[in-house]
Amino acid sequence: MANTETSLKEAAAIEGTIGAALVDYTSGMALGTIGGGNELDLTVAAACNTDVVRAKVRAMELLGLKDEIEDILITLGGQYHLIRLIKARGANGLFLYLALDKSRANLAMARHQLKKIEADLEV
């Protein structure tokens, strides 16, 4: 089991990470952030990606898909953005957000590591 801070440190250690955040998508506020710097404002990313997650949840409702989102991948020219929804006990409505530098990251590896971080996270 890992707390928020440890989990974010592990996320920051993933090869090619620019920044990571743990976000509450009921409010759009970040519970914790790491990295980002001038390149990426993680509080803005947290708020805006909350809308992405909510839109997908709503789309699934309307489509009548009785399933849940495991993760969302957004591919930019130079970056990957990975959103992983937390399914841990007592952690309702949270997601991990990871921004990766496309040229340095290994997507399959990053996704695998993020899954492990998510499974270990206890809020």
Partner: protein, 144 residues
């Protein structure tokens, strides 16, 4: 008497900014569909512009001024600098107040499901703009 005249002159100047402030309130509501009302008021509780806080705009503006007073004293006495914003969550929604320049505030009502992160982002930007509009109107008065 002189003070009353000065305040009335200031009020008249603030009214000149009303159209632009109202435009910004409307744009803000378009960006945040979960807002249920938006209002700009002077720090002493007079409505400058409002977008569907129906009938109760004056009341909300007056209450905002009272909350602002408490907020200012709180930040002052705890050494947190000047007042910036205030967020109140009720059972069926939020009321948020943001400082807008030196003499105005922006008060927003929102549904309980609103994305608070986005609310802050958009409202901080809007309150800065409204602050510039209102302070600009007051400065123009000083030059005249």
């Amino acid at each position: 008497m002189r003070r009353a005249l000065r305040m009335r002159a200031e009020r008249r100047q603030l009214v000149t900014a009303e159209a632009e402030v109202l435009g910004e309130l409307r744009r803000l509501r378009a960006r945040l569909p979960q807002l249920t009302g938006a209002l700009a008021a002077s720090a002493d509780g007079l409505v400058l512009a409002h977008d569907t806080v129906d009938g109760e705009a004056e009341t909300v503006a007056a209450l905002t001024a009272a909350a602002l007073g408490v907020g200012q004293r709180l930040t002052d006495s705890t050494g947190q600098g000047r007042f910036r914003e205030l967020l109140v969550r009720g059972e069926t929604g939020y009321v948020a107040t943001y400082a807008a320049g030196a003499s105005a505030v922006l008060t927003l009502l929102a549904e309980p499901r609103i994305n608070v992160g986005r609310l802050h982002l958009e409202a901080r930007r809007s309150s800065a703009l409204i602050g510039e509009l209102v302070d600009g109107a007051l400065e123009r008065k000083d030059l005249n």
